[in-house]
Symmetry: C2
Subunit: 335 residues, 2 copies
DNA sequence: CTGTTAGCGCTTTCAG
DNA sequence: CTGAAAGCGCTAACAG
């Protein structure tokens, strides 16, 4: 039924080894022989079986990717970078959603390893002891994408979230703002929740101001919570002239809360955040934000992984990508 | 180095076959034996090799998914539905971006087939003869997700794009609008481009009106083109009271063009579209649109594929999912 | 309930 | 430049 390498060998009058060589572009084959084999392949409609190849060669040319949620634009942009580079190096991607649930993460890591992936890309929240344990049982390289862990023993690529937040808040400070509210995220989320919160604190204190706890609310990174927390600030009559939201989505929610209250951004209140999702330039006013290079985070992670998979020399295994303030129209100088 | 089923067999004093049975939950194993085997597995840290299993059993429990662009929210929401259901039935997903390029599509279909996936989910634009040819060489089931092809011989799941557009335009008509502009998409895209255009035409004609070619512009489905085409209508002083954009993104672009011109939505011009992406409820005014059940399209496709993969009886292989008008705030009755 | 024995389709020494 | 042969780690009859 299915045509195998053996059939091709017989048809073209050579051995399996030779067919294997031509299929794998091994140069040690006489052109004539090569042609005979190609003809037979064509004639029989032969398609190499990657599973058999994987078993024999112990390489599957596929890498496992564990991602919190592919339908979340941040992650899907990262995933695109991952896939493009994977594709460039002829790897395929097995994608698994984890919803940031530890159990699920560990579970998918294991099934990915059973599938004999040549490498693993892990995107997610926090890397716990259990994760590290699971990684240790792997005999293939792993890189953390958009996260990192304390010991810095596992290769990773991310931005400096604290500094990004710091820069955002400082941009507000530079425009004369002093009463700056924070719409943060769960501190359990080390990167976006905690580090970005820290950046806010640090910027405020660096400016010689004191942090006002009343000006801090924590949401869940999403639009609705940004809207809700901003509404709270407005209704509780806090005297804020600017707000820093740790994600664009929350910032956009905040903008709408402000607008819904009959106020204007940035005339009445300025808004800034971190991320630069596509939507940031699809709102009115256009959102000023600190851009995190999503695509690049994915692309660079994958590139790093490809090197690791072929035991290439690595100069730097803890990569911090640069971020950049994108000035648009949601921040105004305080007069 | 790596521990195999053979090592476990030796360690637990049984045969490979028995180990295989307990690993695969075959009930024909005495509890005691089962326990011995589990102990050995635990002790040796055995992890089944899915590649070897795949070669021996001719099943890989993985399905290939070809998707135009995972970073596009529409597709990533569909992909989430696909993954959830795949996961539920213990399948893994190999994801390949195609950018809707025919060459790339055909190419990834082939590599997916080489990887011996148990089934294929194809999302993309148009299904050509070449695609059909590629599908024919496959010995595994295929389902089209968010597309379909003329002959209706390939299982598919999608919505009725023409009817969805028709309903959107009719909603405008019902509110008294007569001068309705269309911001369409490339007609080469049969589903979103052509079918939705047809729905517009049909609704206008059904209402006894005549189509005004001056009120038709075609964009590229994205935000910027919606903005630009609307700007054109505004500047060319067309007397429109409402616009139907074939995608939410273009509709949001149109809303912003209107607002940028100092007019209001829906007071001055009403806007409606089809899709209901998440962003539709993250803009001001909230976008009125005909919802296409993205997640379900993915979920149902995958469910259909799981049935096909186990040769289950299929009652219906051309599935049309329902769409629904979501009334929000971007449409107003013409007074 | 358990063991034996063929392969699955390919890569990879090792010879020549 | 080419061929023979030994697996890769597992499943699936088949026999008992």
């Amino acid at each position: 039924m299915t045509v195998t390498i053996y059939d091709v060998a017989r048809e073209s009058g050579v051995s399996m080894a030779t067919v294997s060589r031509v299929v794998n572009n091994n140069p040690n084959v006489k052109p004539q022989t090569r042609k005979k084999v190609f003809d037979a392949i064509e004639k029989l409609g032969y398609r190499p079986n990657a599973v058999a190849r994987g078993l024999a060669s112990k390489k599957t040319t596929t890498v496992g990717v564990v991602i919190p949620d592919i339908s979340n634009t941040i992650f899907s942009e990262v995933a695109r970078g991952v896939e493009d580079i994977a594709n460039m190096y002829r790897y395929n991607i097995i994608l698994c959603n984890s919803d940031k649930k530890k159990e699920k993460e560990i579970q998918v890591i294991n099934t990915l390893l059973e599938k004999q992936v040549d490498g693993l890309l892990f995107m997610g929240g926090t890397v716990t002891e259990d994760h590290i344990h699971a990684f240790k049982t792997a005999s293939v390289p792993i890189v953390l994408c958009g996260t990192k862990e304390e010991s810095e023993n596992i290769p990773s690529v991310d931005i400096d979230h604290e500094k990004a937040a710091f820069d955002a808040v400082q941009a507000l400070l530079n425009e004369g703002h002093r009463d700056i509210a924070l719409i943060g995220g769960n501190f359990k989320d080390l990167a976006k929740g905690f580090a970005r919160y820290q950046g806010y604190i640090k910027a405020i204190e660096d400016a010689g101001l004191t942090v006002n706890e009343d000006l801090i609310q924590v949401g869940n990174f999403r639009y609705d919570s940004g809207l809700e927390k901003m509404k709270y600030f407005l209704e509780s009559n806090q005297n804020v002239t600017a707000v820093f939201a740790v994600t664009d989505e929350m910032a956009i929610g905040a903008i709408h809360a402000i607008q819904d209250a009959g106020l204007k951004v940035p005339e009445d209140i300025s808004v800034i955040s971190v991320d630069n999702i596509r939507m940031a330039s699809m709102v009115r006013p256009l959102l000023t934000t600190v851009a995190q290079p999503m695509y690049d985070i994915g692309a660079v992670s994958m590139r790093l992984l490809t090197k690791l998979m072929v035991n290439e020399e690595i100069e730097q295994s803890q990569i911090i990508l640069p971020h950049e303030l994108i000035q648009r129209n949601s921040v105004k100088r305080l007069t």
